[in-house]
């Protein structure tokens, strides 16, 4: 995404090349062009462009892609912090 970049080296995205069957679905669903098809195998072409939306992993037929999906939203993250500390939150989300 031209002109927009958040932090580098943070995404939880991981590809298991051995499991990939080269169907190319991940290249269709990713809104940031992170995935490309290199012959018969998918490749992570722009890892830092990943926003961890989870679209690729959800649609990958062979389970070759893994990512911890979520929303990059401060209010949501505060809620996950509170939950981890067992502090009840009123379920207002972003």
């Amino acid at each position: 995404m031209e002109g927009f970049r958040h932090f580098s080296g943070v995404t939880t995205l991981a590809l298991d090349s051995a499991a990939c069957i080269g169907c190319g679905i991940c290249t269709h669903v990713c809104p940031h062009g992170v995935m490309t098809l290199n012959g018969k195998k998918a490749k992570i072409a722009d890892k830092d462009g990943c926003m961890e939306c989870g679209a690729c992993a959800r649609n990958c037929p062979s389970g070759a892609l893994a990512v911890t999906p979520g929303v990059g939203c401060a209010a949501y993250i505060i809620q996950t912090w509170l939950k981890a500390k067992n502090i009840p939150v009123d379920a207002k989300c972003c």
């Binding site: 995404m1 970049r5 062009g33 926003m51 939306c53 999906p69 990059g72 993250i77």
Partner: protein
């Protein structure tokens, strides 16, 4: 597919009167009323024709008779221009142009009022004159998204399948698993789609892929999924290219206009914290040598309040507007930079009035508020990952808290010096 116009004889008209009895003029249908004697029926018709005569009458002319598709307890939506008969029943055909009707609702939704209640009824809709081979475009029942889609279909014959996402847009509903394979399959079954079209394909918005597995849709209803473009503007081009998206169509954008529409919503969330801030400023401004003074509180409260307003402006308006041009990757840093820009004119406005220590309070309020709100904007951007935002929050939130603490410290200290 046969089209129902409002003047076609309705199968529900009473059997004891011939449909000839009813005058059809200017799109107004006079339905024979059951149980009326012929002469009173005639009177009724005359009364109606009087509407068109030049006779003086009081008040504005009455509106046309209700559409035969209206049912007790229901109204036909303003964006519906007719109905198509299909094997699965009458399907509303929607307009592809904006109406005044839509405009008022859009304003309400964009400003943050009733944004969540702004829904369309789920189910099947038609655009143009679709047939059994026309594409089926799936979308959420978020009215703004539905409107956008139909405006982008001016030259198309297509079906729109609206899924019940509780009025939430495709992207957010995908994240919350409301726009899901199960919900789509359910709507396909409820609408009787398999009787309306011969093919077995659904075009889904690409941004819904975070919540929908194409394979599960196929398993759930037998329709296979084609991932459509990210933006509705590209949908006609996408269909014209035999459902092949270009790389550009697959990428999400975050242009100036896309950022600007988010600002009012961002601001509408602020009224509650603002009440708390006003209360806090009142309390901290009143503290002084006489322990607490209401007159001092009112007297001194203006400046920090103005600084708070400046912080809101810089964090929730300036930062989103100038986002790609403000240096720094971290939003909290962008917020600080924008805050500096706003701080200069603020101090200039209070020159001569503001004390040496008080200047620091104003500075810290502007920077902390701006930085916090800028960071909060990460939730509205389509490119920040939760891992990235969490990392940013862990670094910047202690600093923001320290700045607010310092602001209070300098403000109270100034009262004693």
């Amino acid at each position: 597919m046969k089209e129902n116009t409002c003047c076609s004889p309705s199968p529900k008209t009473a059997g004891n009167l011939k449909t000839d009895d009813c005058k059809c003029s200017e799109g107004i249908q006079i339905l024979p009323m059951n149980g009326l004697r012929p002469e009173s029926m005639e009177n009724a018709c005359h009364a109606d024709s009087a509407l068109h005569a030049d006779e003086p009458c009081c008040g504005p002319p009455p509106s046309p008779r209700s559409s035969p598709h209206e049912k007790p307890g229901y109204t036909v939506c303003g964006f519906v221009e007719g109905f198509l008969d299909t094997p699965a029943g009458a399907v509303p055909r929607v307009k592809t142009k904006t109406g005044l009707y839509d405009f008022a609702g859009t304003l309400k939704a964009r400003s943050g009022f009733s944004r969540n209640d702004y829904k369309v009824s789920p189910g099947l809709y038609a655009v143009g004159n679709p047939g059994t081979g026309s594409p089926v475009l799936v979308t959420a029942n978020y009215k703004l998204g539905f409107d956008k889609l139909r405006y982008c279909l001016k030259h198309s014959d297509a079906w729109i399948l609206v899924v019940d996402t509780r009025g939430i847009n495709v992207w957010c509903a995908g994240g919350k698993e409301l726009f899901s394979a199960g919900e789509i399959a359910r709507q396909v079954r409820l609408s009787g789609l398999s009787r309306v079209v011969e093919h077995r394909k659904l075009v889904l918005p690409q941004l819904g892929a975070n919540g929908v597995s194409g394979r599960d849709v196929k398993k759930g209803c037998g329709f296979s999924v084609i991932w459509g473009p990210v933006r509705a503007d590209d949908i006609e081009a996408f269909i014209a290219r035999d459902m092949e998206a270009t790389d550009r169509m697959r990428r999400v954008t975050f242009g100036t206009a896309e950022r600007l529409v988010l600002i009012p919503v961002e601001l509408s969330f602020l009224w509650k914290p603002t009440l708390a801030v006003i209360a806090a400023i009142f309390v901290f401004s009143g503290i002084g040598p006489e322990i607490f003074s209401v007159s001092e509180a009112l007297n001194r409260g203006g400046m920090p309040l103005a600084a708070y307003g400046a912080g809101i402006f810089s964090g929730a308006v300036l930062t989103p507007t100038l986002l790609p041009w403000i240096p720094g990757r971290a939003f909290s840093v962008k917020g600080v930079i924008a805050g500096m820009l706003v701080f200069v004119p603020l101090v200039f406005a209070f020159r001569g009035e503001v004390g040496e220590l008080e200047v620091f309070t104003l500075l810290f309020i502007v920077l902390a508020v701006s930085s916090l709100l800028a960071m909060n904007f990460t939730g509205s951007t389509p490119y920040t990952s939760p891992s990235g935002v969490e990392k940013e929050m862990r670094i910047s939130m202690p600093l923001q808290a320290a700045a607010l603490f310092a602001a209070v410290f300098f403000w109270i200290a100034a009262a004693f010096i």
